[in-house]
């Protein structure tokens, strides 16, 4: 199709189209919005950066100078001879309790609520209750732990320590994060496309077979993320531990990682951090910063493990 030379009127028409198409080059509100988003992101990252920089620089002397002793040593009355061994051990066991108790229990509850229960009034009542539990302040869980695990069940959780043991602490924090695990796991299960379930049922799978072979593998990355958030929350809580009776000062025992020491008195990293931060002097401040770095490293390690596992699960999903 040979085009003739454009007449002047068609040239003018093309000009009109061009000016129309190129008119709106600037979009001030869009730009402003984008800039404000950038500011929000930068502010968040900057605050986090300053925080980490501050604790690392303050705590570096303690960490670099006598790391071996600092990480394994006992609580002491002077900053020079104080170490985190007992606190790390307490935090480690709290993590073990959460992983062993809360993860299976919470995930099972979520599977029941999402995959098995009738979606009636009772179910939504339970869901609302669980959401409310997730919002209950941690001190309240501390009182719960004090009443049940320390006082009522003290003879079981620690007869020689009046129940103020890492067992009581682990159980209390497990209950504290249980609603978080249930909610996030339930959300991950809800995000599984229904077509996958129907496909499974369509070839004659039972509900259990569908859940085990298709729903859980698909939801695994999301469930994992939620559980690690819950774990990090449990490792960082101080308030409930105060009520459950974590030791803030001098502590005999509470060092051994052997399970038969579980019913001794204990302390944990958040407790040590809050106690030391109240003590006077530069040296205690440095030790506090160093303890914060140790707690952050532990939480980051848990997150890192979650990311690695998550990537493995997601590879299976593609």
């Amino acid at each position: 199709m040979a085009l003739s030379t454009p007449s002047s009127s068609s040239v003018r028409a093309a000009e009109t189209v061009r000016s129309g198409l190129t008119a709106r080059q600037s979009d001030p509100f869009g730009r402003a919005f984008q800039v404000s988003l950038w500011v929000a992101v930068l502010a968040t990252v900057a605050i986090l950066g300053v925080l980490i920089f501050d604790v690392v620089t303050h705590g570096w002397g303690v960490l670099a100078g006598e790391t071996g002793d600092f990480l394994t040593g006992r609580l002491g009355s002077q900053p020079e001879n104080s170490g985190l061994g007992q606190a790390i051990r307490g935090t480690f066991y709290i993590g073990v309790f959460v992983v062993v108790l809360t993860f299976p229990l919470g995930i099972a509850a979520a599977i029941y609520l999402e995959e098995y229960a009738q979606h009636g009034r009772l179910n939504s009542l339970i869901s609302v209750a669980i959401r409310n539990l997730a919002g209950v302040p941690s001190v309240v869980y501390g009182i719960l732990g004090l009443t049940i695990f320390v006082k009522a069940l003290g003879s079981v959780t620690g007869p020689d320590a009046n129940g103020r043991t890492v067992v009581s602490a682990g159980l209390t924090l497990s209950i504290l994060v249980l609603p978080i695990v249930i909610i996030t796991a339930a959300e991950a299960l809800r995000a599984v496309p229904n077509g996958i379930r129907e496909g499974g049922f369509g070839v004659g799978a039972t509900r259990w077979e569908v859940v085990r072979s298709h729903v859980l593998p698909y939801a695994a990355p999301g469930i994992l993320t939620g559980t690690v958030i819950a774990l990090a929350r449990a490792l960082g809580e101080a308030a409930p531990l105060i009520l459950v009776g974590a030791t803030t000062g001098f502590l005999t025992g509470g060092e051994s990682f052997l399970p038969d020491s579980l019913r001794e008195r204990f302390t944990a990293l958040p407790i040590v951090i809050s106690t030391w931060s109240g003590r006077p002097g530069e040296d205690w401040a440095a030790s506090t910063s160093a303890a914060i770095v140790v707690l952050l490293v532990i939480v980051f390690a848990a997150n890192l493990a979650a990311i690695v596992l998550r990537n493995r699960f997601e590879r299976g999903r593609r």
């Binding site: 129907e198 496909g199 070839v203 039972t206 299976g316």
Partner: protein
């Protein structure tokens, strides 16, 4: 307009026992009656098509045939659905066993997010096939019967989600065939596919009738005309009391009759494009 919603019988060309006998089937979603008084017989090794406008209950009826409606909590079924003479909704009947015999292909291709091989091996494994060589044979034969083998034989271990839409739907058909069902139900299997993929699946359906009874729901009248032996036309009727729409079976006849000289005026209007 006088309409019979009782038994609409199709003249029985095969003369064999029907696979399904539906009598006065009604399905409710909560208080809402989605379809009422569907009675029909579905013949063996034929393709039966359900056509009709949206909301006429054709998918609902289809999902009753393998108790897929059980998965919807509010769904309730009245009347009877007999499969080779056995009432599918009898309390002693297991929905899982029903679905092993009556497979289903869905509107949207829904391969499992696993390898092609694992998609096909899932059903046979449930049925206790454990030996690798047996599974390999099933995978190969079902992919061949779904006309997919040549395209995927070199990448059985790669993810099923890497296949095109048409390939995914054929994979779902193969997955269904892999458990050696008696009947295959298809719920608008081509609605998400382009014409070439659709043509392939239609060819496939014709080939599968040598072994399987197929019931297909389709929005596409030409598709029903091309592939099916019998066609059931459903439509909606407004209930004068509640003003709610309920699906009804208008006419069930050999496909050639439905598309040339239907018994019911509404069928004629629908197939000629004047309504629906």
């Amino acid at each position: 307009m006088a309409v019979t919603t009782g038994t609409v019988s199709a003249d029985d060309k095969a003369g064999s026992d029907p696979v399904f006998e539906l009598s006065s089937l009604e399905v409710f979603y909560g208080e809402f009656r989605a379809v009422r008084e569907v009675s029909m017989e579905i013949a063996e090794r034929e393709i039966t098509a359900f056509i009709g406008p949206s909301g006429c209950g054709k998918t609902t009826v289809l999902r009753c045939l393998n108790r897929m409606n059980d998965l919807i909590e509010t769904a309730r079924v009245q009347g009877s659905v007999k499969y080779h003479g056995v009432d599918l909704y009898d309390a002693a009947v297991s929905a899982t066993e029903v679905r092993r015999r009556i497979g289903m292909v869905f509107q949207k291709p829904n391969p499992f997010p696993k390898s092609i091989y694992d998609n096909l091996a899932f059903g046979p494994r449930l049925n206790g096939v454990k030996k690798k060589s047996d599974l390999d044979d099933i995978v190969e034969s079902s992919l061949k019967s779904a006309a997919l083998w040549d395209e995927v034989k070199d990448r059985l271990k790669s993810s099923a989600l890497g296949l095109s839409g048409g390939q995914q739907q054929r994979l779902c058909i193969a997955r269904c065939v892999a458990v050696k069902p008696d009947v295959i139900l298809m719920d608008e299997p081509c609605s998400a596919l382009d014409p070439i993929a659709t043509a392939r699946i239609e060819d496939l359906m014709r080939e599968l009738t040598s072994e399987y009874t197929i019931v297909i729901v389709t929005h596409n009248m030409q598709q029903a005309a091309r592939v099916s032996d019998r066609t059931a036309f459903f439509t909606t009727e407004v209930n004068p009391e509640s003003d709610r729409r309920t699906g009804v079976l208008v006419e069930y006849n050999p496909t050639s009759k439905i598309f040339s000289t239907p018994d019911d005026e509404r069928t004629e209007q629908y197939v000629t494009g004047r309504f629906g």
